[in-house]
C-alpha cells in the first residue's frame, strides 16, 4: 500500500514538474525546436535541471543492491546503439516537432488541452500497439 502511495506521489511530482517547466505548452516546445527561426532555448533548462538532480542520485543508488520496495533495480538491459534505436528516435522527433507533444505533457494535457491531447494520446497508443504487434 505504501509502495502504491509512493508511486502516485511520484506521478504527481512528475506532472507538476512538467506543468511548472512549460513542457505542457506545445508552442514553447515548437519554439524550442525552431532553431533556424525564432528560437527560444528556455526548455533546455528543463533537461538541465532534471539531470542536475537525478544524475547524483543515480550515482548514489548504483552501488546499492535493491530499492526500498523491490528486491532489485530494473536497469535497462540494452546497450547496443543500433538502427532500431536511431530510427525510433528519428521517428519520435518528427512526431514531437509536428505536435509539440512528447508522451508526458500530452498525458498531463488530456483534460486541459482536449480534444488535441486526447487525439494525440489515442494515436500514440495505436502506434505503441502497432510496433508491439509487429514484434510478436
Amino acid at each position: 500500500m505504501k509502495s502504491i502511495a509512493f508511486a502516485v506521489v511520484t506521478g504527481v511530482l512528475f506532472a507538476v514538474g512538467l506543468l511548472v517547466s512549460g513542457m505542457t505548452e506545445p508552442a514553447k516546445v515548437t519554439a524550442f525546436l525552431d532553431v533556424t527561426g525564432n528560437w527560444d532555448p528556455t526548455l533546455a533548462f528543463v533537461m538541465g535541471g532534471a539531470i542536475l538532480v537525478h544524475a547524483p542520485i543515480v550515482r548514489l543508488v548504483r552501488h546499492r543492491t535493491h530499492p526500498i520496495f523491490d528486491v532489485r533495480f530494473h536497469w535497462p538491459i540494452q546497450h547496443a546503439i543500433d538502427v532500431r534505436l536511431v530510427a525510433g528516435a528519428a521517428i519520435f522527433g518528427i512526431g514531437w516537432g509536428l505536435s509539440g507533444y512528447c508522451p508526458g505533457p500530452a498525458l498531463v494535457g488530456l483534460a486541459g488541452a482536449a480534444p488535441a491531447a486526447v487525439v494525440f494520446i489515442a494515436a500514440m497508443l495505436a502506434g505503441i500497439g502497432f510496433v508491439r504487434l509487429m514484434r510478436r
Partner: protein, 137 residues
C-alpha cells in the same frame, strides 16, 4: 526568454529529476513515460507501480486544467496533424525504447551512450520538422 521562464524551466526540471529519483530509489524503476505507458499492463511485477504512477500523472493534469489552465497551452496544430504525430511518437518511442524522459532525463543522468545518441537524433529530426513546418500552423 525571460529570467522567470528560465527559473521555471530549471525548477520544473528539478521536480522531474526528483520524481525520476523517487521512482529509482523507491521502486527501482526508470521514470520514462513512453515505456511506462507502453508496458503499463505487462505482467512483470511492475504493473502496480506503472498504473499508480500514471494515475498520479494524469490526475494532476485534470486538477491543473481547473486550477492552472494557463499552464496547459493550446495545441499549435490541427487534429489530423496531431493524430499523425501521436502515431509517430508511439511507433518511434517503442522502437527506440524511450522519449524525452526515459532517454533525455534518466538515460543521460546514467551516462547511457544509447540515450545520448537517441536525444541527439530526436532533437535533430524535431528541429528539421519545425524548420519545414514552422513553429505553428
Amino acid at each position: 526568454m525571460t529570467v522567470w521562464a528560465i527559473l521555471r524551466a530549471l525548477g520544473g526540471g528539478a521536480l522531474i529529476g526528483l520524481a525520476a529519483s523517487l521512482a529509482l530509489v523507491a521502486h527501482g524503476r526508470i521514470a520514462g513515460i513512453s515505456g511506462t505507458v507502453g508496458r503499463a499492463l505487462d505482467d512483470d511485477g511492475g504493473r502496480p507501480f506503472r498504473l499508480a504512477f500514471l494515475a498520479g500523472l494524469i490526475a494532476t493534469g485534470f486538477v491543473a486544467a481547473v486550477v492552472a489552465p494557463q499552464a496547459i497551452g493550446a495545441s499549435v496544430r490541427s487534429l489530423p496533424a496531431l493524430a499523425i504525430a501521436g502515431f509517430l511518437v508511439g511507433v518511434g518511442t517503442t522502437l527506440g525504447n524511450g522519449c524525452t524522459s526515459g532517454h533525455g532525463v534518466c538515460g543521460i543522468s546514467r551516462g547511457s551512450g544509447r540515450s545520448v545518441v537517441a536525444v541527439g537524433t530526436f532533437m535533430l529530426t524535431g528541429a528539421i520538422t519545425v524548420a519545414i513546418l514552422g513553429a505553428s500552423s
